[in-house]
């Protein structure tokens, strides 16, 4: 297919662009296969380059022959284009609609994008499972890296290499995979160096109504327990939901068959409910009614903050079991690709200082979301403005980022990265020139040859100029476990994402820069003091007369 077929009017002059808190720009609008571009052709005005895949929905309005297109983006920005000429406007609108909803992955922009920057380190090779396993090997010899899934036949959503208990062979794993939803057998998610306890994740066990059991499954997870110790299974569903799952072939680990495990049920909502919550929240944030009561009750009705709280609470629980109770944990919900990953990744942010560095956080996203098979393509196909019927969309990943932001806000000095990294990752999960978040699993990414044909987001991030922008100036490495408060009073709305386009950030940005400036100046002065001290010490040794008696 040629993009040109979809573009009836490739350019229109005299288009006026309205953006929140920015001066209006008049210029020429161009449509290309992947971008909507508006340029005033003047040097000092910023151009607009908008990826079609970032467009969530559009609205058309006409006043006489002047048409307006309101473009609502997946990053929650809303812009307006005033287009002279009815026909041009309709053409542009229909092109945008068609181009922004192309389903074919191989036509996506990442396959056409050529980096304009020097790649210092290829992000596709930065976070390989075998490297992560080397770190694990240095701490323990109780685990091995299994290649049982090397052709993705045992579990299509798992990576080719997974860490499993040393004593469990590949045949056992194959049997266990048939007993777990989507073939997602229990694998290692995190090893707690301090006490050797582990966190594992999986899909739900397929016990069904007649209570099927699988000795191999029991053997596998028991292999992670120390003699005489008990473990915890954190089921992210309520007991009722878990019971109902039996009717559809799913289920949970019964006390009878898993006597060494204590099951805890939590209530993290499933995808469609989360998507509705996001839509309501964004609608509330854009409410212009100036009524405080209305805003607060809409915020409440969206339930978004409740979801944040539930997820954080469950993650804290998992972390507590590991760090305070000294027990190993298995986390799963239904498929083990959404709420499960929220819990396991957040628990690592809490427990492991390494995950709070810029590189560690990328590694965490890579390990616990991309390689763990979170279906980004399905989940992030639409955002809060879309009018089409939601299918598999869900802001699971955005909720995870929101929770990280809550912890970051409560521990402003414990993270090497600033809020900007979280916003950046959110944007790219929904629309990107990079291939990182394309596809739903490792197997899909391998089929599409993404590492060969596209650029990784991490290649862009891991360059000095970008790292500098993403670094938290207040960072001081904190090797402790950080326990966030999950009281409703402590949780805030993430303004950086949800009110980003509704407020002018000029003053806040200035303050941030001033703070960075102060910190840099402070470092400079400290260096000066140190070198002066050294000089003084040297002078004193050279000239004994200077030494005070």
């Amino acid at each position: 297919m040629e993009f040109a077929e979809l573009i009836k009017t490739p350019r229109v002059d005299g288009v006026v662009l309205h953006r929140p808190f920015m001066p209006t720009v008049e210029g020429t609008l161009c449509l290309t296969g992947h971008h909507l571009i508006l340029s005033s052709r003047q040097d000092n005005t910023e151009e607009l380059w908008l990826l079609h895949s970032n467009i969530d929905s559009i609205e058309k309005r006409f006043v006489g022959s002047l048409g307006s297109i309101i473009v609502k983006c997946k990053d929650l920005r809303v812009i307006q284009l005033d287009i002279p000429g009815m026909e041009e406007c309709l053409n542009i609108a229909s092109s945008i609609e068609a181009l922004s909803t192309l389903d074919l992955l191989s036509l996506m922009y990442p396959f056409f994008y050529r980096p304009m920057f020097e790649v210092i380190e290829d992000g596709w090779n930065s976070f390989l499972p075998e490297d992560a396993f080397k770190d694990l090997e240095s701490m323990t010899d109780e685990w091995r890296l299994s290649e049982v899934n090397k052709d993705f036949s045992v579990c299509p959503s798992y990576p080719p290499l997974v860490a499993v208990p040393k004593d469990v062979d590949d045949d056992t794993l194959r049997k266990v995979a048939t007993f777990r939803h989507g073939g997602r057998f229990p694998v290692l998610s995190y090893y707690h160096k301090k006490n050797g306890m582990v966190m594992m994740r999986s899909g739900q066990p397929l016990t069904g109504t007649n209570g099927r059991r699988c000795k191999e499954d029991e053997k596998l997870i028991n292999a992670t327990l120390r003699p005489g110790k008990r473990g915890y299974i954190i089921d992210t569903r309520t007991i009722n939901v878990a019971q109902q799952a039996k009717a559809r072939g799913g289920g949970f680990e019964s006390e009878a068959n898993y006597p060494q495990w204590r099951r805890i049920h939590k209530a993290i909502e499933r995808s469609n409910i989360l998507q509705e919550s996001l839509i309501k929240l964004v609608e509330a944030c854009n409410d212009q009614s100036h009524s405080m009561d209305r805003w607060l009750s809409k915020l409440e009705a969206s339930n978004w903050q409740t979801h944040v709280k539930e997820i954080l609470t469950t993650a804290c629980l998992a972390a507590q079991c590991i760090d305070r109770e000294g027990a190993s944990v298995l986390v799963h919900g239904t498929e083990g690709a959404d709420s499960t990953l929220q819990v396991t990744s957040l628990a690592q942010i809490i427990l492991d200082p390494a995950c709070r560095t810029i590189r560690g956080f990328q590694g965490l996203v890579e390990r616990e979301w991309l390689q763990a098979g979170h279906p980004f393509q399905q989940r992030c196909a639409q955002s809060a403005y879309s009018n089409s019927k939601p299918r598999q969309e869900a802001p699971s990943f955005l909720l995870f980022l929101d929770c990280v932001w809550q912890i970051l806000r409560q521990f402003p000095c414990s993270f090497e990265f600033s809020e900007s990294l979280l916003v950046l990752v959110f944007e790219h999960a929904y629309a990107s020139q990079f291939g990182t978040f394309l596809g739903n699993s490792n197997s899909e990414r391998a089929k599409l040859s993404l590492p060969e044909k596209t650029v990784s987001l991490w290649s862009w991030v891991n360059r000095p100029q970008e790292l500098e922008r993403l670094t938290n100036p207040l960072y001081e490495a904190n090797s402790l476990v950080i326990w966030p408060s999950v009281a409703p009073q402590s949780l805030l709305l993430w303004e950086g994402v949800f009110l980003r386009w509704n407020r002018s950030s000029k003053c806040l940005d200035e303050a941030y820069e001033e703070m960075v400036h102060i910190i840099e100046y402070n470092k400079e002065l400290q260096n000066k003091v140190n070198s002066l001290r050294r000089q003084l010490a040297q002078l004193e040794t050279e000239d004994p007369l200077l030494q005070t008696p």
Partner: protein
Amino acid sequence: MEFSEHIKTANVEDVVLRQTLHPPSRGTLCVTGHHLLFSDREEGSCRQVLLLLRNIDAIEKSVENLLAYSCPFSNAGHSQRISGSSGTISIKCKDLRVLHLDIPGMEQCLNIARSIETLSCLEAVSEMYPFFYRPSNASLQDQWGLSSPEKHYSQMTELHDRWRLSTVNRHYSVCPSYPPAVIVPKNIDDAMLEKIAKFRQRGRFPVLCYYHRKNGMVIMSSSQPLTGANRKRCMEDEFLLQAVIDGSDKGYIIDTRSSQQALQARITGGGFESKSGYSSWKRLHRQMERGKALQESLIKLVEACGDESHNMDRWLSKLENSKWLSHVQTALSTAGLLAECVERDGHSVLVHGSEGTDSTLLISTLAQLIMDPCCRTLEGFLALLEREWVQAGHPFQQRCSHSAYSHARLQQESPVFLLLLDCVWQLWRQFPLALGFSEALLLRLATEAYASNYGTFLCNNQQERCVLRVKENTRCLFQALLRPRERDGYSNPLYEPTELAIWPSVHPQSLQLWRGFFLRWTPQARHLEEAQEEIRNMIIEWGKLALS
């Protein structure tokens, strides 16, 4: 009266103090005339808690251990039961802190509780701690206050053409709640002022609050005119206001009541400026909550903040029900309107509600912060508070006698000053560079207004302060805050003066709960100040480096 009459048990050993964010500690509790002193006895630590009794809003007693001792199988006699039991006193402070004291011995516990109850709400101002407070580093000869109306007038030379300093109120006879000297239009003589004072509630005739240098426009404040049901007029009052807008086409009157409320006020003798009498003035009504409703809002908010149900919906709906954030929004948007009239529209404004001592001062103060860079420095802000709140007669004594925990029947309490501080905090949050002072200052002021070592917020107006010789017998808080050691902690390290007006966003989405104050003593607040602290330490380090 002797304080000792109220203290039956002055000293108790083996008391356990429990407080959020601190491990429990065991030590000695002492009650004095003005303080509760707890000192830790454990080795290696020397925790001391010194609490002004005045800071205590409410106490609750419970004697839970008694049950265990009075069970029917116990052979213990009656006397043993009493001596072996213990009680807990929960102390809820006006600064929203909550302390629990486990006190051995029923009788001691009850004695302590009774002493606290009596001593914490003594009415006599001259018995209050500021009259006894004698810090070693300052003498009473220090200047009291930052400025005076006379000094303020003499510094504002651009005023002298059209405005004069009147001392008509030098004996507080014309308006008891005004300072002895006020600024009024030059061609209005004292005899006219006396007549106008009779036409305005409690004599609060229109006086100058603020002169906008950029365009010469002013903010005036007063109380409501006493037109009553038969629409009385006062030529002198009309004449005064005409003199204010002399040379301009019109002025605005911002009435902080709804037009309905203003109409109703006529029945009780109040009213508003009618079109016929004040043809060049355009009246704008903005309903601002005051008095009891505001106090109830605070009580509900604090209750919501203390809610431990861990339920997000409950928290958000309680926050909404308290209406506190709506009051913040109304105050800021009315102040924005006022500033817009003066700065953008280029007209003078008269502000009043009914008495002119609450919402009037609130919005005129906020408007000055929005427009005038001089008010945004640490000194400037304190001077603004001194002028617009202390001297202008905000009845601190009445408004701040109880806070959110008190069980006492509401009288004249109302957290107007606290609402002001909250609004200033919102400004600070939206313009982190524009204000020369920090959140710590706002927190300190919020505490001091309710209970203080200093005399600044004592009494309801200058006349009362004069009678009690507050200036001669107490220390001034504002002076103390500006001392070099204190001011470090209260200045904003990011401050960069700007000449521009700072227009706050009043979208509900832009306003936030002032967590630093309302959640200050809850476990959630643990990390709120960490980043601020970090920056502050750096600034202090610089200071040291610069010296060495």
